[in-house]
């Protein structure tokens, strides 16, 4: 592999002088995101827990989005996807994203349906 590394993150907002420096920069960013997640997880701000969007608490949406952000930087900078050809990158990234979204959609709809049956149907399970 060529030694060419793309040394910018945040779409060029942050430029690093060397690959090593970029690695430490990404580590700091990932640690900050994890710290934010943990603090939110411990304190659970009521405003975020009470409001829900698309049947899920706002806090959980924040957790999922932060997770995807972390996953992006791990894949792009630690696994060097940023330096790969875009065809390889797209093949690796979009295949699982498509399949996972499909599976999750099916299973969560089904689960909500079963929940409704347990709750409202003529079916006793909590005896």
């Amino acid at each position: 592999m060529a030694h060419a590394h793309k040394l910018e993150i945040f779409r060029g907002l942050l430029k690093f002088k060397s690959n090593t420096q970029k690695i430490w920069g990404v580590l700091i960013f990932l640690s900050i995101v994890t710290a934010v997640e943990v603090v939110l997880g411990i304190f659970k701000p009521p405003s975020l827990v009470k409001t829900s969007f698309l049947d899920m608490k706002l806090l959980n949406w924040i957790f999922i989005i932060l997770t995807l952000v972390k996953a992006y930087y791990i894949a792009w900078d630690f696994m060097h996807l940023r330096d790969e050809k875009s065809s390889l990158r797209r093949a690796i990234v979009w295949t699982p994203i498509f399949l996972v979204c499909y599976l999750v959609m099916i299973l969560l709809f089904e689960a909500t349906y079963i929940y409704d049956i347990f709750k409202n149907g003529f079916f006793a399970w909590n005896f």
Binding site: L27, G41, I64, A75, M79, P96, L107, A111, N126
Partner: protein
Amino acid sequence: MDTTVTTGNEENVWGGGNRPLGASYGKLMMWFFIVSDALTFSGFLASYGFSRFKFIETWPIADEVFTHVPFFHGNYPMIYVAFMTFILIMSSVTMVLAVDAGHKMKQNAVIWYMFLTIIGGAIFVGSQAWEWATFIKGDFGALETKGGRILQFVNAETGERAAVTEFAAALQEDRVADARDKGIWFSDGETLPSVSLNEVIEGFRANPNILIRTETINEEGEKTLLTREESLGRLKDAVRVVEGANLIRNEYGSRLFADFFFFITGFHGFHVFSGVVINVIIFFNVILGTYERRGHYEMVEKVGLYWHFVDLVWVFVFTFFYLV
């Protein structure tokens, strides 16, 4: 676009030697494996989501389950898992530094970074083992009803959880564990809990400040606390004492919760373990100078991909098991 391959004539396109993805065979195969393994983990996490949405009102709250930190007493939700996450990210960083040093053909730097990566992985696996042990041991104990629901206990004065062993009455009972030498020779009975069902029930009746907490999550996002009268009523449904967790039942709530915990973190822990083993092999190869003679350190890069993938999966497990 750097995706299109432009070649002069058609013979060159089919004649071989083209590298449209610009990656070596080994790296591509590692990516194939990673994508398929990512789908396996997604399947597990999606089925976890399925069970959770199915029992959305009664699912255990992770903050109340994972509250322990080694060498410290008290209630510290999330802290230890956050530490484990940090260790794994840190070992990912030393791994990528090893890859970087490999590109520059710095053998000694690769050795040190690989060494640190292995240490990080070992700490993580050890932490997970400890986490499992704590989870299996349990801390407060609970009762199970005829319908398989879990009843936990709370001290009404302090609002803290009450352990069954604290308030259980000491009765003179003969309880014999169904061991092979005592009962049926070909099967072991279940391990006896430290207190019997009768002792818990008598102890509950004798302590008016103990209340029952059900699995149901109320409007505030907390587990529902029953009044004393309701508690005494629910106590009649209890059929057994549950302490800790196994694959059949657990004191934290839904049975599936422990099953998924063991399965998903176990599968991930096994990945970390095999990652450590592979890292050790590569580590010795680096020391022996194999890659120095080969002229490149691509092998380090390939195990690096696997190691980062393990970290990537943990990021998702952390979110869906401990945070959400």
